[in-house]
């Protein structure tokens, strides 16, 4: 097949994309394999803000590295802006850019403006146009008053804003945002999300692939979301469609007071109870319970009373992407991350 004709309307396409890392084992000289991505098939049309949602270590960053020409796949193929990322990386690079959250870029001794100008040079943008564009974007993101500050003197949040301008400045056809709001405070994260949305709204041909492990971010920003876990895509659709999968469930949040440990098994075994999570919060026990239908609720309350747990509040909740994740994986995202625990290896991150 000729990739150009088939891929013209697609910003990103992957076919059975896999990546296996070789990592050192516990014994000297022992090498083990870790599957970071397995048979990923994605088609992202131009103009879409596509989200990859998954816990740390799911394979999001590995996918971004492959698509941005930093890493070769072990198997399968990938195209970005119509070009093969392995064989035609020279053609991919002028068309993309990437911003990773929590990473610094540029040089501490240069000012914000100077750092950005330098990166503009690497993309062949003439100086005058680069400066105009930098100024506009700095104003848009609220960093114009710090343009002449050395980047080493910026706070983490402001440094990340500079990093974001660096990525958007070259007006890439496809932009990769890897956890763009990681480590930012609530206000800064909100500003960054607004900036991203505005940038997409300005030009319908722009495409963003965004990875995040914040459910709310994916819901708020993305046209479509893929849920990724242990290197596999478990579901891929619009946030609304994904949530419809769990729409038939009734999800309740209950806050109870109890003197003795709760027998959660007894609750889970009630007919009609699909899932139950509980955690201590504000001096009480918070239960989040998914039911096959609302009519099951009296049974739950009855069981709580039997266990001498007093109900303090009860709230029905709309399903979220978190519920979709739980339905697909069986665990909440934070529980997955906790389970991974110390399994981190610098060479195998995600």
């Amino acid at each position: 097949m000729t990739t150009e004709t088939h891929l013209d309307d697609l910003a990103i396409k992957t076919e059975a994309l896999s990546r296996i890392y070789k990592i050192r084992g516990a014994k000297k000289g022992e090498m083990r394999e870790r599957v970071a991505l397995e048979d990923i098939n994605l088609s992202i049309p131009r103009g879409e803000l596509f989200g990859l949602l998954g816990p740390n270590g799911a394979g999001k960053t590995t996918l971004i590295k492959i698509l941005t020409t930093l890493l070769s796949p072990t198997r399968g193929r990938a195209w970005v802006a119509g070009f093969d990322v392995v064989r035609e990386s020279d053609k991919v690079r002028p068309r993309i850019n990437m911003v990773s959250g929590g990473e610094t870029s540029g040089y501490g001794l240069l000012t914000v403006r100077e750092n950005l100008w330098m990166f503009a040079q690497f993309y062949g943008i003439p100086s005058r146009q680069a400066h105009q564009r930098i100024q506009t974007l700095l104003e848009m993101i609220g960093l114009a008053d710090r343009a002449n500050t050395k980047s080493s003197d910026l706070s983490t949040g402001l440094r990340q804003k500079m990093n974001i301008v660096r990525g958007f400045m070259t007006d890439p056809e496809v932009l990769f945002l890897d956890e763009p709001t990681l480590g930012l405070d609530v206000q800064a994260a909100r500003e960054v999300r607004a900036f991203i949305r505005r940038w997409m709204d300005e030009n319908p041909s722009r495409t963003i692939l965004l990875t995040t492990h914040y459910m709310q971010e994916a819901e708020e920003l993305c046209d479509r979301v893929a849920i990724i876990h242990e290197g596999r895509i478990l579901a891929c659709d619009t946030p609304d469609h994904l949530k419809q999968e769990v729409q038939h469930e009734a999800i309740f949040q209950l806050l109870v007071e109890t003197e003795q440990p709760l027998n959660s098994l007894a609750l889970e075994n009630l007919p009609g109870v699909l899932r139950l999570h509980h955690q201590w919060m504000n001096g009480g026990l918070q239960l989040e319970i998914s039911l096959a239908e609302e009519g099951v609720l009296p049974l739950v309350i009855g069981e709580l009373e039997r266990q001498q747990a007093h109900l303090r509040s009860l709230q029905k909740r709309q399903p979220s992407l978190e519920d979709v994740f739980v339905q697909l994986v069986g665990l909440r995202m934070e529980e997955v991350e906790r389970e991974r625990g110390n399994g981190y290896h610098p060479n195998t991150q995600e």
Binding site: T104, Y107, G108, L109, L110, S152, D153
Partner: protein, 284 residues
């Protein structure tokens, strides 16, 4: 004492320094790596000497410059070991801020970081001397070595070099990461003044006082005297001073240097805090 913060700082830093210096390759390659540089530095002087004197290696002059150069390896190794730790921890590992907030004694931590280079350099110096004796007929006999003087001088000299390193570490706290090792640059320059490879008398009269003011000059003379007393006697620089007097001078200078280096380091540290440079990343 073994549980004191000071000892803990030193021991932990020495262990860390050794890991950083050595764990990038296997021990054999590391040993080769550790001796190639100093051997090449000695080789330069050997060739220079041979070119001009047509291989007269059994002269006092050759032993003077060969041994002076060999022990001079400690100067750049120890001063760099102590001062580079600031750059390495601040800009590379980005741990300097954590070191500062931990209950550690920073000068002793930096001394500890210099231990690895001291050990590898000791190995290299030994190889250089053995090479000189074995292949270049340098006049050195085990029976004439003054061991107590050698050991005391080496210990005192190492402490003195560590203190020079501490001053450089203080300066490093205030400067950006440039492309050179500050210890190497300073050691390279002091090479001229300390009578390492030629007697101070060769220098113009106006430069000699610098040499007399530097403890390294006295230390190198002591090391030569301890190893090859006859060679040292052939040069007039310190002929008026006995071994004991030289040692006392070195001890006094080290003491003075100790005070100066602590004052300078604390002062630089204070400035670095004021300017917010403890967690500075200056790459350019």
């Amino acid at each position: 004492m073994l549980r004191s913060p000071a000892f803990r700082s030193f021991r932990m830093a020495a262990w860390l320094g050794w890991q950083i210096e050595s764990n990038w390759t296997d021990p054999f390659l590391f040993a080769i790596y550790s001796i190639i540089k100093p051997l090449a530095a000695a080789g330069i002087l050997v060739v220079m000497y041979r070119v001009v004197t047509q291989q007269a290696f059994d002269t006092p002059m050759f032993a003077y410059l060969y041994l002076g150069n060999a022990f001079y390896q400690y100067v750049s190794a120890v001063t760099t070991g102590v001062s580079w730790a600031v750059i390495d921890d601040r800009e590379h590992y980005r741990t300097l801020k954590y070191i500062y907030v931990a209950p550690l004694n920073i000068p002793l931590y930096l001394f500890g970081r210099g231990v690895a280079r001291f050990l590898t350099t000791s190995f290299a110096v030994l190889i250089i001397i053995l090479f000189g004796v074995g292949f270049l007929k340098m006049p050195l006999a085990l029976s004439t070595i003054q061991w107590p003087l050698l050991i005391v001088s080496l210990v005192l000299g190492t402490l003195m070099l560590g203190l020079v390193g501490l001053i450089l570490a203080g300066i490093t706290l205030l400067t950006a990461r440039h492309s050179y090792y500050i210890g190497d640059a300073v050691a390279g320059a002091l090479f001229l003044f300390t009578g390492a490879i030629f007697p101070l008398e060769v220098l113009p009269a106006y430069l000699r006082p610098i040499g007399y003011a530097l403890p390294i000059t006295y230390w190198l003379e002591l090391m030569r005297r301890a190893l090859v007393g006859r060679v040292a006697q052939a040069f007039p620089t310190f002929s008026a001073l006995s071994d004991g007097q030289l040692l006392a001078l070195l001890a006094l200078m080290t003491l003075a240097l100790g005070i100066i280096s602590l004052v300078v380091f604390r002062w630089c540290e204070r400035l670095a805090r004021e300017r917010g440079l403890i967690d500075y990343t200056s790459n350019y």
